[in-house]
């Protein structure tokens, strides 16, 4: 019978626990089944307004390049594959490999049909009170591949 002991410091590992994608998926599933689809969107909007407030402020002050930098960092960190096409007034992100969906599929997790809102609602909310808006041009529910466009309003 085993007697085991380990000591770990934070610096021994990289912070990347992809099961958190699955936990978020479970949270969305809970909101949908116990409340409503709108509750999922309301929650994601509340989260985005709170958590991404500094990002939205930077978007307002510096433009779309801050979103590009934000998403480039995330996809690099998580091993996703995305292409970025940017002009001063337009940023299109083509996600060829979505790390969240890829991880959940590998774990055989049933993905909430509202998981798409982590892209659509988050993107739209990020742009609130800025000169920009967002639209989701394409989302493949099976693979999580998507195309999202951020653009200057009124053009």
């Amino acid at each position: 019978m085993a007697k085991l002991k380990i000591d770990r410091q934070a610096s021994d590992n990289t912070y990347l626990h992809k099961d958190f994608h699955s936990a978020l998926n479970t949270g969305l599933e809970y909101l949908e089944t116990h409340y409503s689809e709108q509750a999922v969107r309301d929650y994601l909007r509340q989260f985005t307004l709170a958590w991404y407030a500094p990002l939205t402020k930077s978007l307002r002050e510096k433009g779309l390049s801050v979103l590009r930098e934000h998403y480039e960092r995330i996809f690099a960190l998580e091993g996703g594959v995305a292409e970025f096409h940017e002009t001063p007034d337009d940023l299109q992100i083509d996600v060829h490999e979505n790390p969240a969906v890829t991880h959940m599929r590998a774990q055989k997790i049933a993905i909430s049909p509202l998981f798409v809102e982590t892209v659509r609602t988050v993107g739209k909310t990020l742009c609130e009170n800025t000169p920009f808006d967002a639209e989701l041009l394409h989302y493949d529910e099976t693979t999580g591949r998507y195309t999202q466009r951020f653009y200057r309003r009124g053009l």
Binding site: R8, N13, H17, D19, Y30, D42, Q46, I74, L77
Partner: protein, 145 residues
Amino acid sequence: MISCTEFIPAYSELFRFLETRDGEKAVTGFWEYISDHFLNNLRELVKEHGIKGCWLYWNRTLNEEAADFTMELDEDAGEFRITMHHCPSKGRLLTMTHIRPYPEYCLHCDILYRRVLEPLGYTYEFDSSRIDQAACSIIVRRKDT
């Protein structure tokens, strides 16, 4: 996309969202749901390996979360212990300046795991007395010991 590295504030904000809508019982209800629907990996590992299943489960999750911890298993004594010197989740929440963390955030660790382990024949002790320093401990014991 929301990165998995942003999950902790997302989770904290979900607790707040639920409490605002339906009070504390809504948050507790969600934790019970997570325990019942999301922690099947812990449940299955403990069913298959006994108390060593706790070691197998947390050895992966705490390393992926880059926690600062000591973990001990004594199978003969039927005891498993985690001493969390610095919880990466609570630690992050304590250092975030632009959001207000859900005040009872750490309680989910008590409800989620207790609900899995007690029906399988284990006791579960959660010491939350130092969560203001992002530190805590859990002790799991086989009930026959």
